[in-house]
Amino acid sequence: MNTIVNTQDLKAYYITKAYGVERTVKAVDNVTIAIEEGEVYGLAGESGCGKSTLLKVMLGEFQPPLTVVGGSVTYNFDGQEKNAASLTEEDRQEIRWSKVSYIPQGSMHVLNPVRRIQDTFHDFIVTHKPMSKRETFDMTRNYLRELGLPEKVMRSYPHQLSGGMRQRVTIALATILWPKLIFADEPTTALDVVVQRGVIQLLKEIQQKKNSTIVLITHDLGVHANLADHIGVLYAGKLVEEAPTRTILTKPRHPYTQFLIKSLPTFDERSEREGIPGRPPALDHPPSGCRFHTRCPLLLEKCKTLEPEMFTVGPEHRVACHLITEVGHA
């Protein structure tokens, strides 16, 4: 298997300076992830844990105040390596949409409200491939048919479509040039369960058809269970656990991951369930040592001062927690 994108000790901070006061928000701190070609990699965590920042950096689409302070993000397309943090304008033109693509959360704001869907598709395609309008319309029609979306959406304006349909059209738009690497940022969060299932179904289909790679961000572990092959759990800008989906869901090792999974209501029982006590720390002054120690019920003395390293506990299973090395379990 080839690694299609990897981050090495990536540090991305928001650095702002106002009236001589410098403020640094460590949104992504020392994250090392390797994503294999053809897999769905899920990133999970609470709001404000750095999921979206990590995605921005991996997309190479960021501006100050967000700055890459250390580490690297490397794409690998057929043996050609490229650093995502320092793309030139030409590289970007070449890579964007045809190799790397992005599905945003709010599909309402993505589609041009004064152009028909077919014209939006045309605009996107001709930026990358010189084609006539007739050709792009044919291409769009065939692609929509392939994905099982009704053809009549082509002549509609975005406001005429329901939220779920709009999101599916956005996904079609992001994948029409068959990119190898697709980033999806909370693609189903604003949708209701039935529509969400339809959208996930569509993503899965696209991924399987062309064996593309998807990096999926969502806080909903249920969505990850249905789509992702591997899951990485982020907490306060750090990767705390990474494993194949089944392992994460059935045998989580980090106390935070255990909390995340335990807090989910299920249909098997209606017993009392607690949310995670406390709240995520502010990232301009993250806690010393392990960043979870302020909320951790199994806290050791050294957690307060010493930052835990990533430790391999099983096949493809990495955890950053002192309990694993000290006590042997968590």
Binding site: D192, V193, V194, V195, A225, S263, L264, F267, G275
Partner: protein, 322 residues
């Protein structure tokens, strides 16, 4: 005659859509009925996909919109016929809303505690000198304190905190009914649980009834006592939540339940589903509104609207149980 807390009797809301010279009637809520009892506080969930009429229903319960036909009575009085003064002094003191997006509910230019003070003074809940301690006690019920939010603007709070303040504001008047329209859909999973747990606590400790409108069936199952599942304006299944969600009877409820993603690698989806193409077409369909998507559709479903049938402790609107 024993009074109900809230009684919805064949409530219908029709919107007209004009297209050129043709006017189409659009039943956003169609003959919906349910009752909440006075001395039995409960969490009543209204669930359904987007565009099923949930929010229109909520607006009518809150008296912000009046039904086209049918009756909506709060403690024996018709909500839509209350005059302005009565509505302000009596109805809104007892029935309070919580909305979906707390950052849209609070003005970004006003300090968030001013809303709490305003509500307190509008309803003269206690002598003005006790305002701070009164508000603090209400905030304690939602796990906050006045020191945490005093003088702060909404953007300084996290989504979960802001939603708690919204709920605290609703609690100031000591209401007997709270109508919460999608209160957790903007929050992530662990925060959802803390809000839903709070609803359970409010019901038990304060005796507040809560109408909890959501599309998140997992939290509904966890917190609610009874549930009404809505589809294109109809209540298709209504009854105790253990029955309706534990063992759904209507094909639509079954579909809804099966679509909840579960964080369990052994419970992933195997089958595919079909989504509704056009909402308007489904609303104005004759016969059952689920007929186009139903896996168990019969000839009769396409022409005739089903009635409510009582099956195993709940009402189901489906010919399968005729």
């Amino acid at each position: 005659m024993p009074e109900h807390l809230l009684e919805a009797n064949n409530v219908t809301k029709i919107f007209d859509i004009r297209q050129g010279f043709v006017t189409k009637h659009f039943h956003a809520v169609d003959q919906a009925s349910f009752t909440l009892e006075k001395d039995k506080p409960e969490i009543f969930t209204i669930a359904g996909e987007s565009g099923s009429g949930k929010s229109t229903f909520a607006k009518m319960i809150l008296g912000m919109d009046s039904p086209s036909s049918g009756k909506l009575q709060y403690q024996g009085r018709d909500v839509s016929s209350l005059n302005k003064a009565k509505k302000r002094n009596w109805f809104y003191k007892q029935v309070q809303p919580v909305f979906q997006d707390p950052f849209a509910a609070f003005s970004p230019l006003k300090r968030i505690d001013s809303y709490l003070h305003e509500t307190f003074h509008n309803y003269k809940m206690a002598p003005a000198s006790e305002a701070d301690s009164y508000i603090n006690s209400v905030l304690n019920q939602v796990g906050l304190s006045i020191a945490e939010i005093k003088g702060r603007y909404p953007n300084e709070l996290s989504g979960g905190q802001a939603q708690r303040v919204a709920i605290a504001r609703a609690l100031i008047t000591k209401p007997s009914l709270i109508v919460a329209d999608e209160p957790v859909s903007m929050l992530d999973a662990s925060l959802r649980m803390s809000i839903v747990n709070m609803f359970r606590k409010l019901k038990q400790d304060n005796g507040v009834s809560i109408i909890y409108i959501t599309h998140d069936l997992a939290t509904a199952y966890y917190s609610a006592d009874r549930i009404a599942v809505m589809l294109r304006g109809w209540i298709v299944e209504i009854g105790p939540v253990e029955h309706v969600l534990g063992n759904p009877k209507h094909p639509y409820t079954q579909n809804l339940k099966a679509s909840i993603p579960q964080a369990d690698p052994d419970k992933t989806w195997e089958t595919k589903i079909s989504l509704a193409d056009m909402e308007i077409a489904e609303f104005s369909r004759t016969g059952c509104k689920f007929a186009a998507r139903c896996p168990a559709v019969m000839e009769k479903c396409k022409s005739e609207a089903p009635k409510d049938y009582n099956v195993e402790g709940r009402n189901v609107k489906c010919f399968l149980y005729e």
